[in-house]
């Protein structure tokens, strides 16, 4: 009957909690810039969706991380102090390499975050953007050059 017990979530509850904590450490909440951390519900949901493409690798790296925590600190990652967690993450290159990309993609596509950066908080289409023509007189010295393609 075990096959009837399952979940559509790609990560266990413990791993989700660990990922949420890691997201908050990577991009923390900031009072100065008035922005939430990457553990914000909407950002984190997007992050999990993006990360689900690498479920096996991430679960494996999290297992490795927790094994190190238990060996070195006698407890799981979530039970450690912030500075200990940061130190451990700094030594988890493979996990970081995967998660940094997903966390930043989720965070910097959130309309609330884009607004704080004075960037457009809606899709590029249909509004588009204004792009200045620029100073075409910069081309004047190039226009004075003789043709320099090789004649054959």
């Amino acid at each position: 009957m075990n096959q009837l017990i399952g979940s559509t979530s790609p990560f266990s509850e413990e791993n989700r909690n660990t990922l949420r904590k890691i997201a908050a450490l990577l991009i923390p909440k900031s009072e100065e810039f008035k922005v939430p951390g990457a553990d914000d519900d909407a950002v984190f949901t997007h992050f999990i969706k993006l990360a689900s493409g690498q479920t096996n690798s991430i679960n494996k790296y999290l297992e490795d991380l927790n094994q190190i925590c238990r060996n070195d600190h006698g407890d799981s990652f979530l039970k450690l102090q912030n500075d200990e967690q940061i130190s451990l993450l700094n030594n988890s290159e493979s996990l970081l390499e995967l998660l940094l990309s997903y966390v930043s993609l989720a965070y910097y596509q959130d309309p609330r975050i884009l607004s704080t950066l004075s960037l457009k908080s809606s899709p590029p289409f249909p509004g588009g953007y204004n792009v200045e023509q620029g100073d075409w007189s910069l081309l004047d010295p190039v226009k004075k050059r003789d043709p320099f393609y090789r004649k054959v």
Binding site: L25, L26, I27, P28, S30, E32, F33, V35, H46, L50, G53, I86, L96, E97, L100, S101, V103, S104, L105, A106, Y107, Y108, Q109, P111, L114, L117, L119, S122, P123, P124, F125, P126, G127, G128, Y129, N130, V131, E132, Q133, G134, D135, W136, L138, L139, P141, V142, K143, R145, D146, P147, F148, Y149, R150, K151, V152
Partner: protein
């Protein structure tokens, strides 16, 4: 069962398949094109969605192994430092290309004569020039006439804007006294042939939701279909049939439900580009052609050429365009023509890249340790978003028989058709050219005021241009097709895509692929009564 017979069967509905089908349509022959992918729906393109940057990196990735749609086929890239980029669907690679649209130079057709390497093409610039012009009208090209790096060519629409990034980079080029010019681009800067003008969505390489970028689903195909060409999607060709007389007889393909179908034809035209075309020929083995169709020279799949790319980007105090505006901006051909004192033969084009969107900027910055994570993250990210611009160097690749496409003995697509496997290595000439391009690129960015300059070479996922694997030539022992695209071995089988390139030049190939397709089609029309002689 009703016989499915046509005069001309075109395989592949991308850049070249669309052009050849449109051109042949005036003959009033019955023409059918089989395309393994589907029509694109612009509302699906990433730029119509809030998460457009991650959509571009996933379901609209130019890496078919990552995109992994039912309509894609896998490619074994394990033995290549450059990964293939493509798109399978109506429009082919033009759906996801940037729209950079340079022509070859006259010297590109005379590489052996001028520089003593590779082979000369059996045709020259003057032969293709009227087809370049015709293709420019069909695709709609923006640009500025008068570029001293090129022979004169017509201007159809005004150039894409210089913008903030172009202005920064142009100042850098000017300080060094080096050539630059607004890029020729298929991004329409005015309304053109039913297309609306560019509104600077900045996501050209994930499909243009505005319809301003010329992909062949919105340029050639509507005209070709109105002229009577039938385009069938979700039809994946497994092999080309060979008749008892050794001529091509049509194709066996799978429809969208995986059902095997047969179509017979008087003429078969292959337009599957530099990987798909040799794959199809090598999969078309028969008693008459045990080594693959049209392969008596043994060159089908060999001489694979990419363009090895370098990337050089820097951070600026002034604001850049970021992802806003067409990716096309300006180019430089200061180092295009051969100068042996540089330590390599042939040359490259610099193509400016305005910048990237905020999410990709931060993702890249964090993974390469240039943007901090943790307490300093927000300050660090704000110093990078819309502050980075730079360029890529697109280097000419020379043909080498060891660089090749073969069939993977194990890997297959969803219809069970053997997939392609690559063997490819960078030549010493390419390595020296990449190094040189990086050194010059750094000089340009420093002259423009850039700092924290980052470089990559070759761009590992930058196999956008796929050429040389069924090359053209007069000598049937040294080429697969003749000087007008007809296979030496099979006189009713034609190839019109990038696989027939003899050399790669140092520019994006699509404009030349399409000019070649129009030239081959025109030659076929002129020779209709003696086509198989």
């Amino acid at each position: 069962m009703k016989e499915d017979h046509v005069d001309v069967l075109v395989i592949g509905a991308g850049a070249s398949g669309a052009a050849v089908a449109w051109s042949l349509a005036e003959t009033k022959m019955k023409i059918v094109c089989l395309e393994q992918g589907e029509w694109a729906n612009p509302k699906d393109y990433p730029s119509a969605h809030m998460d457009w940057e991650s959509k571009w990196l996933n379901e609209f990735s130019y890496d078919p192994n990552l995109r992994a749609r039912q309509t894609d086929y896998p490619i074994n890239n394990m033995e290549s430092p450059i990964q293939v980029a493509n798109f399978n669907g109506v429009g082919g690679g033009t759906i996801l290309y940037a729209g950079h649209f340079p022509r070859f130079h006259p010297s590109d057709f005379r590489v052996k004569t001028l520089d003593g390497v590779a082979e000369d093409w059996p045709i020259d610039y003057q032969t293709l020039e009227p087809y370049y012009d015709e293709n420019d009208r069909m695709m709609g090209v923006s640009g500025l006439k008068g570029d001293p790096a090129y022979p004169p060519k017509p201007q159809i629409m005004p150039p894409v804007p210089l913008g903030k990034s172009g202005t920064i980079l142009a100042n850098g080029f000017n300080k060094l006294g080096w050539h630059w010019w607004p890029s020729d681009s298929t991004v329409a800067t005015e309304q053109y042939d039913g297309r609306d003008q560019c509104i600077n969505l900045g996501a050209c390489v994930s499909g243009c939701a505005q319809g301003a970028k010329a992909s062949t689903d919105i340029t050639y195909w509507p005209h070709a279909i109105r002229a009577g060409v039938e385009l069938r999607v979700r039809c994946r060709v497994r092999e080309i049939i060979v008749r008892k007389d050794g001529m091509a007889g049509g194709a066996i393909y799978y429809d969208g439900k995986g059902l095997e179908k047969k179509i017979t034809a008087e003429v078969v035209v292959i337009a599957c580009n530099g990987i798909g075309t040799p794959r199809l020929l090598l999969n078309s083995k028969s008693k008459l052609f045990p080594d693959g169709l049209a392969n008596s020279s043994g060159l089908v799949g060999k001489n694979l050429m990419f363009h090895p790319y370098s990337a050089i980007f820097g951070k600026f105090d002034a604001e850049t365009d970021g992802a806003r505006g067409p990716g096309n901006c300006i180019w430089s051909q200061e180092f295009y023509e051969t100068d042996p004192s540089r330590g390599f033969l042939r040359g490259f084009t610099f193509e400016a890249s305005r910048g990237t969107g905020p999410a990709l900027t931060v993702a890249r910055g964090m993974t390469n340790h240039r943007i901090a994570w943790g307490a300093n993250h927000h300050q660090s990210a704000r110093q990078a978003i819309n502050k980075i611009t730079g360029m890529v160097g697109i280097c000419e690749d020379l043909p080498n028989e060891n660089n090749q496409v073969i069939l993977d003995p194990h890997l297959k697509d969803s219809d069970g058709i053997p997939a392609p496997k690559l063997h490819y290595a960078l030549s010493e000439n390419s390595k020296r050219m990449l190094e040189f391009s990086i050194a010059r690129g750094i000089e340009i960015l420093e002259a423009a005021g850039g700092e924290d300059i980052q470089t990559v070479a070759p761009i590992p996922d930058g196999g956008w241009h796929l050429m040389g694997t069924a090359r053209m030539g007069i000598d049937c022992t040294k080429s697969v097709v003749n000087e007008w695209g007809r296979c030496h071995d099979v006189k009713n089988l034609f190839i019109v895509d990038g696989s027939i390139f003899v050399t790669s030049a140092g520019v994006n190939p699509t404009r030349t692929i399409q000019a070649l397709a129009l030239y081959v089609a025109d030659t076929m029309k002129h020779r209709l009564t003696t086509l198989f002689d």
